[in-house]
Symmetry: C2
Subunit: 169 residues, 2 copies
DNA sequence: GAATATATGTCAATAACACTGACCAATTTT
DNA sequence: AAAATTGGTCAGTGTTATTGACATATATTC
């Protein structure tokens, strides 16, 4: 291949990380995310849902009673965008809305049994892929994976990732 | 089908991986990818480009002389989708097409200077984020990150990720 | 109690990015 | 000569997102 013009460049950085190492990381993120999300697509198609539905179902499942505003903060989309998909999920009885007892402006979201069943189908497929990678990589590698991934996430959002771990301890 | 709840879930799996660990990984992938791709958005907006443009510019930059078909295989989109964005990039002189000397059906793609300059702007921002995470995590963690991420990628696509490492050795 | 802020929802218009299907042209392979 | 490959294009469609404007209910503050 004709190489070496755009790619030979050492482009050294002050952290002693080679440019290639960083490019590799960029590609790992691209491909891993592409294949990881692709995992659920077949299931979603059967329900005539897209990835937006998946994200909502996942985060409502992981955070029962989450409010609309909190969900927006996680997804970082506009409320109009959320509304379209969320209304569908409510209409088709995958999600229920309950008015908060203390602050009656808030609508708390929960999965119905139907929604929980779908969530399980979707999450299990992705979990299996991750579990296989974890098993092959070993415990130390998994720890490194966690550390690096957390470091990539915006500092202010790191504590949005799965609180059980910290709560449980 | 609908078994025990969804979330009281010990839901033990045979690999001794707790369900929470796998859910955490799912969320790490979501948030890290969200913030990582968000990094380039400001730059793209200035050029009136979207993420599709970014992906093309990135992969043409990383693989100078790549053919349209190879690019399609990497991006896993249809050629009609690629065409729309690629034509724009060619029209605006970020990318050039050159007919392959040996097989005149093939169009090989290259970044122009203008394209390479934009690619650098985009990649540098993302690299900085990854470099910071790598620096904070340490070399062992980085190795683990690489191993796990590769494991998540479809087996048949693992060798699409950055070949320099293996070629160079 | 009135004014203001907050949480949510909705209408309308628009755009980015993807899809399918059908077809064409140039070129290479068999 | 026929078939396969590579790439491009036209037309129509769908999903997911956007911005802006406005409405409603409720809570908080002065």
């Amino acid at each position: 291949m004709s190489d070496q013009q755009t790619r030979g460049r050492p482009r050294v950085n002050p952290l002693f990380l080679r440019d290639e190492d960083l490019r590799e990381a960029i590609e790992l993120l691209f491909f891993a995310y592409r294949d990881f999300t692709g995992e659920a697509d077949a299931v979603l198609d059967a329900f005539d849902f897209g990835r937006a539905h998946h994200r909502i179902i996942y985060f409502v499942g992981a955070n029962p009673g989450i409010s609309v505003g909190e969900l927006l903060a996680i997804l970082k989309i506009t409320k109009q965008s959320l509304s379209r998909v969320l209304s569908q999920l409510v209409d088709e009885a995958f999600i229920t809305q309950e008015t908060d007892a203390n602050d009656r402006r808030r609508r708390r979201l929960y999965l119905t049994d139907k929604g929980a069943s779908l969530e399980r189908q979707l999450t299990d497929r992705q979990s299996r892929r991750v579990a296989a990678a974890f098993r092959d990589a070993g415990a130390d590698a998994v720890a490194g994976f966690r550390t690096v991934m957390r470091g990539i996430i915006n500092e202010e959002d790191r504590d949005r990732v799965l609180r059980y771990r910290d709560e449980a301890s």
